[in-house]
């Protein structure tokens, strides 16, 4: 055992590309049962995959990034997680929001089709991309009444995703999305 042979990361390297370790640490911190792992094919080629429930009896590969490069694979893995979170949120929203039409049909167990995003999930995606949110922004983008858009932004604040409105009604998104592709 010789841990000292590994180059230790220093604060000066903060601008390094993202690594699988960073993805894995993000998952561990946020209770996401996923992990990136490098697998080797019989022909010797390698690829980074995203494992589900790593180390558990039901562990499996959830997503093959198709990438050998760790940085590109990490970006793909974060994009995969963004999709997972979107789908999870859409399910939650459909369950607890009686104003949203039942667009999330329960798929047959053998067909893991992602659900169509609800109004709230779509509003969240818009807000996270913009970094700020206002009822007007949501109203225009989704074509919904102002009162409905206001409630969606208030819900973001209640859930700790957005801050309180400033004097212009603008709420800052508090959840870090800098790690997600498209939001860098």
């Amino acid at each position: 055992m010789a841990v000292e042979k590994f180059q230790q990361r220093r604060p000066l390297e903060v601008k390094d590309p993202m690594t699988a370790g960073e993805f894995n640490l993000w998952c561990a911190i946020h209770d996401k049962p996923y992990r990136m792992a490098r697998h080797q094919w019989p022909d010797g080629a390698t690829e980074w995959d995203v494992e589900f429930n790593p180390g558990k009896p039901d562990g499996t590969i959830a997503y093959g990034t198709g990438q050998e490069d760790e940085t590109l694979a990490t970006l793909a893995a974060f994009a995969f997680m963004a999709g997972i979170e979107w789908a999870e949120d859409a399910r939650r929203t459909a369950d607890d929001d009686d104003e949203v039409p039942d667009v999330v049909a329960t798929p047959p167990a053998s067909v893991p089709a992602p659900p169509e995003p609800s109004l709230y999930a779509r509003a969240l995606a818009l807000a996270m991309q913009a970094g700020t949110v206002t009822p007007r922004q949501i109203q225009d983008a989704l074509g919904i009444p102002q009162e409905r858009a206001l409630r969606l932004t208030e819900r973001m604040e209640d859930e700790g995703i957005a801050g309180a409105p400033d004097v212009n009604g603008v709420r800052v998104i508090l959840v870090s999305t800098a790690r997600l592709p498209g939001n860098s």
Binding site: M1, R10, L25, A28, I29
Partner: protein, 147 residues
């Protein structure tokens, strides 16, 4: 939270401890949700994250830094510390139980024989809390002392 201060030797553990203390400002409890992996880059390869089991009686590896997995050839993620050899599991459990119970970091220096090579390491265990004020995760960091 107590204001006891840990005396650490390894500079990177000192930095991590200061980082954790920074999360405690205004009497706040450091929460797992507050952490951004980008802020943990200086230590990421030497970190371990453990989940406190639902019954509080075991600890499950959620993240195992690359330095350790490369060095030990071990894949511990998803497995509880109770799967470790009995003596090692008992030592770790006692240490982690103390952190969970006291809500305070722990540090220790130990020397062990690693494949015939006597090495001295220093490790730091930091509690991370949930919204109820209970310890839900442990952030462990270890570095070899070269002196």
């Amino acid at each position: 939270m107590s204001r006891l201060v840990l005396i650490l030797r390894h500079p990177q553990l000192k930095d991590l401890y200061q980082f954790w203390l920074g999360l405690c400002h205004d009497e706040r409890l450091p929460m797992a949700a507050d952490l951004d992996p980008a802020h943990l880059r200086p230590w990421i390869d030497n970190l371990v994250v453990l989940d406190v089991s639902v019954d509080g009686d075991d600890f499950i590896y959620a993240y195992y830094g690359r330095s350790f997995s490369n060095a030990f050839g071990a894949d511990t993620v998803g497995k509880p510390i109770s799967n470790l050899p009995t003596e090692q599991a008992a030592t770790l459990k006692a240490e982690y139980d103390r952190v969970v119970k006291d809500h305070l970091p722990q540090a220790r220096v130990y020397t062990a024989d690693f494949d015939g090579d006597m090495q001295t390491w220093e490790r730091l265990v930091l509690p991370l809390f949930d919204r109820n004020g209970d310890v839900e995760k442990l952030l462990v960091c270890a570095f070899r002392l070269m002196s």
